[in-house]
C-alpha cells in the first residue's frame, strides 16, 4: 500500500519535473503535429513532396538565425539586430558578387562575424544593456543596407547566376541550403556542449556572479555568443540573396522576431540559463510550418505578423517563472 503510494508520488514528481523543465518543448512538438494535421486536412498538398522541399528551404535561413540568437539568449541577453544584419549582408552580397566573384561569400560571412563582434564589444566593454546596444546597431545596419542599396531592391545580373546555382541543388526532397544550415547547427552544438566557452554561455545565464567567481572568462564568452549570432545572421543573409537572386534591403526585418519566437518555443528561457541548440530545430519547424501552412491555405499576409506576435507572447508566458515573488522583471 505504502509502496504503491510511493510509486504514485514518484510518478507525480516525474511529471512535475517534466512540467517545469520541458513543458514548452513538449507543447511545441504537440502543436507541430497538430498544425501539420490541421493544414493537411484543409489542403492535402501541404504534405506533398514539393511542399516539404519548400518548407525545408524556408527553414534554412530561419534556423541559422535562431541558432545564432539562441547563443545570446542563453546568456540572458538579447540580439535585436540579426534581422538588419541579414538584410545588410544580402545587399552586400548582391553588390559584391559581380566585382569579386565567389570570394564575396567569404567576405559577407566575415561581415556577419564582425557585426556580431561589434555587438558583443559594445555590450561587454561599454556596459551597454544588450537590448539597447543591438537596437542601435539594428538601426545602423538597416540604414547602411538602405543606403548602399539606394533604398530599393537590387537584382543580380545574369552573369553571376552560375555562382548562385548551388542554391537550387537538392538531394531528393532535401535542399542543399538546408543541409548547410544543419551543418552549422552541428558546429554550434559542438561549441555549446564541447568547448569551455560554449558551456560558459549557460553558466552566465544561470548566475553570472558565480560564474565570474569560479574564474570563467565572462567577457570572452559573451563576445563569442554575439559573434555566433552575427555569423548566423550573415549566412542567413547570403541564403536570402541566393534564393531570391536579389538583395532586398528589408528582407530580414521580420525574421528577428521570428527567430526569437522559434528559440523561445524550443524551450530557451529569456532570462537565460536554459536551452539546447539542437532543440531549436523544433521551434523553427513549427514557425516555418505555420508560415508555410498559412500560405498554402491562403491566409492574408498581414495575419502572419499578428500570429507571430501572439506566439511570442504565449511562448514566453508559458516559460516565465511566475511563482518567484522576489524576482524583479524590468
Amino acid at each position: 500500500m505504502s509502496n504503491n503510494k510511493r510509486n504514485l508520488k514518484g510518478v507525480k514528481t516525474l511529471f512535475t519535473k517534466i512540467n517545469k523543465n520541458d513543458i514548452s518543448t513538449i507543447l511545441t512538438v504537440v502543436s507541430l503535429i497538430l498544425i501539420v494535421i490541421i493544414f493537411t486536412s484543409i489542403n492535402p498538398r501541404f504534405l506533398s513532396l514539393y511542399n516539404i522541399k519548400n518548407i525545408l528551404l524556408d527553414c534554412a535561413p530561419l534556423l541559422l538565425m535562431t541558432i545564432g540568437v539562441s547563443c545570446v539568449l542563453f546568456l540572458g541577453s538579447i540580439d535585436l539586430s540579426n534581422g538588419a544584419v541579414a538584410s545588410c549582408s544580402a545587399v552586400m552580397l548582391t553588390i559584391m558578387l559581380p566585382k569579386f566573384g565567389a570570394v564575396s561569400f567569404v567576405y559577407v560571412f566575415f561581415y556577419g562575424a564582425i557585426a556580431g563582434l561589434i555587438n558583443g564589444v559594445l555590450h561587454t566593454k561599454l556596459k551597454v544593456p544588450s537590448f539597447i546596444a543591438t537596437l542601435c546597431t539594428q538601426s545602423i545596419w538597416q540604414s547602411i543596407a538602405l543606403l548602399i542599396a539606394g533604398g530599393q531592391p537590387l537584382s543580380m545580373t545574369p552573369d553571376v547566376w552560375p555562382l548562385l546555382k548551388w542554391g537550387k541543388f537538392s538531394i531528393g526532397p532535401i535542399p542543399f541550403m538546408f543541409i548547410i544550415s544543419i551543418i552549422f547547427m552541428g558546429i554550434f552544438a559542438v561549441i555549446q556542449f564541447k568547448t569551455p566557452t560554449g558551456r560558459t554561455f549557460l553558466a552566465i545565464g544561470c548566475n553570472e556572479r558565480a560564474a565570474r567567481l569560479i574564474g570563467l572568462k565572462i567577457s570572452f564568452s559573451k563576445i563569442t555568443a554575439f559573434t555566433l549570432s552575427g555569423i548566423g545572421a550573415g549566412v542567413a543573409g547570403i541564403f536570402f540573396a541566393v534564393k531570391l537572386k536579389s538583395g532586398i534591403p528589408t528582407v530580414g526585418e521580420q525574421y528577428n522576431l521570428m527567430s526569437i519566437a522559434a528559440a523561445v518555443l524550443s524551450g530557451v528561457l529569456l532570462t537565460g540559463g536554459k536551452g539546447n541548440i539542437l532543440l531549436t530545430f523544433v521551434g523553427v519547424a513549427l514557425i516555418t510550418a505555420i508560415q508555410n501552412g498559412m500560405n498554402v491555405i491562403a491566409v492574408d499576409g498581414f495575419w502572419q505578423k499578428i500570429v507571430f506576435g501572439l506566439i511570442v507572447v504565449v511562448a514566453i508566458y508559458i516559460n516565465s517563472d511566475r511563482k518567484n515573488f522576489k524576482l524583479i522583471v524590468k
Binding site: P129, F302, I306, I316, K330
Partner: protein, 337 residues
C-alpha cells in the same frame, strides 16, 4: 593630540571627496544643456539658414511628435522598463483614426469622437501590455516588441492595403494652423509636457516612479502596490503613443501604418540623451525635453546640410550608444544583461 589631527584629516579628505562627487554629478546633470547650446552654436555656423524664424518654426513642428512620444517613454524608462510598442501601436492609432473621421474610403464621420475612441482603445492596449508584463513576469521590452508586431498587423488589416485619405477639415486646420507663431501640434505637445511635469513633480505617482526605478524591493516592502503603478505607467505611455499616432495622421493626411515607423527610436534617443538613465530612477521629463530638442536640432541640421535621411537613424543609434555608455560607466561591478 595626534589622533585628533588624524581624525580631522580624514574628515577633510572625506568632505573633499564628497565635494568632488557632487561636482561630477552636477556636471553630468547640466551636460545635456551644455550640449544643446554647443549644438545650436555649431549648427548656426555650419548650416546655412539654421538661424531663421522659418527654421525655428520647422524645428518646433518637427519636435512635436517626438516630444509627445518621449513624455510617455520617460516614465517607462524611469521605472527601469522600456516600451518598444510605439511603432505598431502608433501606426495602428493613425490608421484607425483615418478610417473613423471623414475620409475618402468609407462613410464614417465620427469627428472628434473617432479620435477619442482611438486614444482610449490604444490606452487599453497599453494597460493590457502592462498587465501581461506585471502578472506574467515577462520582460517589458519583449512584451511591447510583440505587441508592436501584432498591432502593426491589425493596422494594415484595418485598411486592407489601401490607405484612406483624410478629408476631415479639422485635421487640415490642425496641421497648418499656428497660434502666436507656434504650430498647433507643438502646442498639443507642450500641453502633454505640462501634464507629465505635474504628474512627475506634484503627485505621489511621480514619486513612486523614481523610487521603483531606484530600488524596487524597498518600495515593495513599504506596501506600495508596485504592479498598479507599473500598469499605470504603461497606460500613460500608450496614451502618449496614441496621441502621437493621431498627430502623425494629422500631419501626413493618410492613414498608413508607416506613421509609426521610426517614431520610437528618436524618442528613446531623446530620453537617453537628456540624461534619464536606462536602469531607472534618474532623470525626468525636463531632461527629456532637452533631449528632444537636441535630437530635433541634429536631425534638422543634417537635413539642412543635405545628408541622406537614411543616415539620420544611424546617427541616432551611435548617439544612444555613446550616451548610455557614458552614463553607466561608474558602476562597473553591476551585471548588465
Amino acid at each position: 593630540m595626534n589622533t585628533q589631527n588624524g581624525k580631522s584629516q580624514i574628515a577633510l579628505e572625506f568632505s573633499q571627496e564628497m565635494e568632488r562627487i557632487n561636482r561630477k554629478t552636477r556636471l553630468i546633470n547640466t551636460m545635456p544643456l551644455i550640449i544643446l547650446f554647443v549644438l545650436v552654436f555649431i549648427m548656426s555656423v555650419v548650416a546655412e539658414g539654421f538661424f531663421s524664424l522659418y527654421n525655428f518654426q520647422t524645428i518646433l513642428s518637427q519636435l512635436s511628435i517626438m516630444l509627445v512620444m518621449s513624455m510617455g517613454l520617460t516614465f517607462v524608462i524611469l521605472i527601469g522598463s522600456i516600451d518598444l510598442s510605439g511603432e505598431g501601436l502608433g501606426g495602428f492609432a493613425g490608421a484607425v483614426t483615418s478610417l473613423l473621421v471623414l475620409n475618402g474610403k468609407n462613410t464614417n464621420n465620427f469627428g472628434i469622437w473617432g479620435i477619442l475612441f482611438v486614444i482610449v482603445a490604444v490606452t487599453l492596449i497599453g494597460i493590457l501590455s502592462g498587465v501581461i508584463h506585471v502578472k506574467g513576469k515577462m520582460p517589458s521590452f519583449m512584451v511591447t516588441y510583440s505587441i508592436s508586431s501584432i498591432m502593426a498587423g491589425f493596422a494594415v488589416l484595418s485598411y486592407k492595403g489601401q490607405p484612406a485619405m483624410i478629408k476631415y477639415p479639422f485635421f487640415t486646420q490642425l496641421s497648418q494652423g499656428t497660434f502666436i507663431g507656434i504650430p498647433i501640434l507643438t502646442w498639443i505637445s507642450i500641453i502633454v509636457f505640462c501634464i507629465a511635469y505635474i504628474l512627475q513633480t506634484r503627485t505621489k505617482f511621480g514619486t513612486y516612479l523614481f523610487a521603483i526605478g531606484d530600488n524596487e524591493n524597498i518600495v515593495r516592502n513599504t506596501g506600495i502596490n508596485i504592479d498598479l503603478v507599473k500598469v499605470k505607467v504603461f497606460a500613460w505611455s500608450a496614451f502618449c503613443i496614441g496621441l502621437a499616432g493621431v498627430m502623425g495622421a494629422v500631419r501626413i493626411g493618410r492613414g498608413v501604418v508607416d506613421i509609426g515607423v521610426g517614431i520610437v527610436f528618436p524618442a528613446i534617443t531623446a530620453v537617453v540623451v537628456g540624461g534619464t538613465s536606462l536602469s531607472g530612477g534618474k532623470g525626468g521629463v525636463v531632461n527629456s525635453l532637452i533631449g528632444a530638442l537636441i535630437v530635433t536640432i541634429i536631425n534638422n541640421g543634417l537635413i539642412l546640410l543635405g545628408v541622406s535621411t537614411y543616415i539620420q537613424a544611424a546617427v541616432q543609434g551611435i548617439i544612444i550608444i555613446a550616451a548610455v555608455a557614458l552614463s553607466v560607466e561608474h558602476d562597473r561591478k553591476g551585471i548588465c544583461k
